[in-house]
Amino acid sequence: MPHQGVKEVTENETSMVMLGPKDRLIGELHIEGNLRVGGTLEGQIEATGDVEVTEAATVKASVTGREVSVNGQVNGPVLASKKLVIGRSGSVIGDVKVPRLVMQDGASLSGNVQMGPQVAAEMAPAPAPAEAPMEAAVVASTDGQTEDRPKAKRR
């Protein structure tokens, strides 16, 4: 048990972070699990699980996740290793790199789109916990640096 910093998170379990409509995050967030944003977010977010941007949310950040769904506003590049869904109230301004993209009527998108199986191949299918067993913290507050380890390793 080397890593007991965050209680809800164990190695094989995904965590869930929710930011309510009045919450605000400015900075970098790396999470081994799912993220749901209802408020304001600025900076950089990276989730190994799914990212959901709800209707009230305003995100000015680069967003990385497995399955990303946008019903609010996203201003920044979006990378999804599985799929991006832009709902009818969703808006994405930024470059999109995803293997699959679903856009509902009414959704808005401005940017460059890269799609297809080759995108999936160049992205990590799933982060293997075996490779870096120590590093699976929700927010690496101690090392203060960017933590894009799972992706970088998997290439």
Partner: protein, 137 residues
């Protein structure tokens, strides 16, 4: 401007059930069957539906449909553009672009509305909501 030439591979287009100039909701329609192909520049006041092969420049006042199995390499401009086949080229939809689940689109698009179904593939730049340069048809 008005260079229009169509090359039909198979039988000459019939004005029968779905051929050229069939009146549907008051406007003209061209349908190119699976064996048909067109190459060139087309300015058309009506709808165009492609099931075969098309190459060139197509500006239509109505809708432009690319059926499943069709291959289009062209500049496309239409009111509603719906794609189920393979398209390579610059595309403008004055109203809406729909990519069906079997669609493969490679090129930059300018659209007012955009709908993409799961399974569609798209590579290119998306610009939504402005038509200053290309609405002169």
């Amino acid at each position: 401007m008005d260079t229009q030439h169509a090359v039909a591979d198979t039988a000459p287009i019939e004005a029968g059930e779905d051929g050229v100039e069939s009146r549907r909701d008051g406007s003209n329609k061209i349908t190119l069957g699976p064996g048909d192909s067109i190459e060139g520049k087309l300015n058309y006041n009506g709808h165009v539906s492609v099931q075969g092969r098309a190459e060139g420049e197509f500006r239509v006042s109505g809708n432009f449909d690319v059926a499943s199995g069709a291959t289009v390499k062209a500049l496309i401009e239409g009111a509603n553009v719906s794609i189920k086949g393979e398209v390579e080229g610059v595309l403008t939809a004055r109203d809406k672009l729909t990519l069906g689940k079997s669609a493969k689109l490679h090129g930059d698009v300018t659209v007012k509305r955009l709908q993409i179904e799961d399974g569609a593939s798209f590579n290119g730049h998306v610009q939504m909501g402005s038509f200053e340069q290309s609405s002169g048809s």
